[in-house]
Amino acid sequence: MSALAERSARAKQRRAGMSPRPAATLTLLCLFAALAGTALIALTVGAAGIPLARLPAALGLWGDAVTSPLLARDQLVVWSIRIPRIAAAAMVGALLAVSGTIMQGLFRNPLADPALVGVSSGGAFAAAAAIVFTDSHLGESLRFLQHQLLPVAAFAGSLVTTIVLYGIASRGGRTSIAIFLLAGLAIAAIANAGIGLLVFVADDRQLRDITFWMLGSLSGATWSKLTALAPVLAAALIACVPIARGLDVLVLGEAEAFHSGVDVERLKQMSIVLVSAMTGVAVSVCGVVGFVGIVVPHLLRLVIGPAHRLLLPASALLGAILLVGADTVARTIVAPAEMPIGILTAAIGAPFFLAMLLRQRNLVSL
């Protein structure tokens, strides 16, 4: 079993007198290398294939685009379409995986995921409401702000959902896994009913936009969206540093974490804001993409253990790898058409989730 393998690996490490630090650095380096490799593959494949040999020229490292129309096309594809899209996939993947990791730490529950328990739906509902509202006569004056309004609305929707969920699921410092999942299900249903209502009143163009939120797609990635994503990702990753130890200790329960000197209320507030901001911004860029936040931290815990100091940055990297890979598949599998990436991650993630649930059933009672 993997747990056994992990144990024997650790025992070996200890016999060799190694501290766990080189392993941490090594893990992060391997993940970096894998991300670079995945991104490279993603650059070369697509509706317009760019073989590896043509890639340096397409990136503008050499060659003259004026004299070669093929090169001009390659450069256009790489710089205006693929690079922003790959970068967006990587950043969204990192955001979703890290917010999933924080959420699992916060709820002390490896089955938590922002999309599964309605936090993404809450964000998508708020975003869809913003689309319909700014298009209506009432919101006409705000229409020019639609672009900026969407991430804010998605963040607000995610924040409200997370706070409601936390309020329902934790009582007296303990979180019931069953109540948490059921409450998440109900909240997702409410948000989806809201989206359904918006679909009902929406016109054709709005309908297309809203459908996009619900299925999730990275096809709308542009440089300007990247400038909104990058600062949030950077800020969120920096904010993870001071909460990592607190999240570790929180595994003991809120009372024990407090007894151990953790300012639990502050940690909870920071985690909730972080999860909501990260999920909200990810949703505003690519709609609802589920299960990244559940698959990534689980796989990593098997290999590097559950300590958040390493788990959080490693999750960011593996989330990026996973989403860049999934997006590459989504845009090539039915080329020249595109499959919504949310369908793909759900198709991979949902069976994974069920497998985890079955394993958990044997270990602990929900």
């Binding site: 747990a3 570790d248 329960g253 009372a255 007894h259 151990s260 000197g261 602990v364």
Partner: protein, 267 residues
Amino acid sequence: MSALLEAQAISMTVSGATLVDAVSLQIGAGEMVAIVGPNGAGKSTLLRMLSGDLRPSRGTLRLRQRDLNTYRPRELAQHRAMLSQHVNVSFPFTVEEIVSMGAGESPRTAARGLVRAALDEVGLAPFRSRQLPTLSGGEQQRAHFARVLVQLACGEALHGPGLLLLDEPTSSLDLRHQIDLVETARRRAKRGTAVIAILHDLNLAMRFADRILLLHRGRLAVDGDRAAAMRAETLRKTFEIDAAIEYTGDGVPFLLPQTMRPAGQAT
């Protein structure tokens, strides 16, 4: 010498029900105190108030002559360590990682020695690389006890003898490990730590505590030595049992329950 921990008429009322009613006590350094009492007497609530986890509805609590509520969590953790009754760990942390959590932000090298010593003390050194959720209930409880010992040691290194609070620390331990745990706590008390433990087993409490706090319906029924708590009349009133009280060779009382309370007399 002034008291380490001082409670003045602390009460806890939750939606109209008074769980703890005007309890006053002083605990000095090096004392070994057992809280006993029937189910629902308010033992855990009292201990959680003493730990700073619950804020009393009325009354004041002072730790080292300073209002307990003015301590920030990290500061408080350096003065008192507490072991809760049920601690569930859902992620695969190893025993060593869990025990190290007691060290907080202490320097790694200093913490490593303390962690090793605590693991040896609770007899879990061979299990240090095992994942905690794979251990038995009793082994997990010992691991958490080791974690609390590390926290206590880190705090005492900074501020001198502190406060160790234990909520039914022996509940899932076998007889030998119950005795081991209480002996370990006693050793800490000898070095100046004030130990307050909720114990269900009255005989264990008599054997190891110098001072007994007997709670009954939220009130402090007895605060005194073993002889004061172990009176047939007191036990009948509080636990509603008839018990024969005997004495060991060295004068420690122990009880043998005789009969249940006659039927028909409601609690």
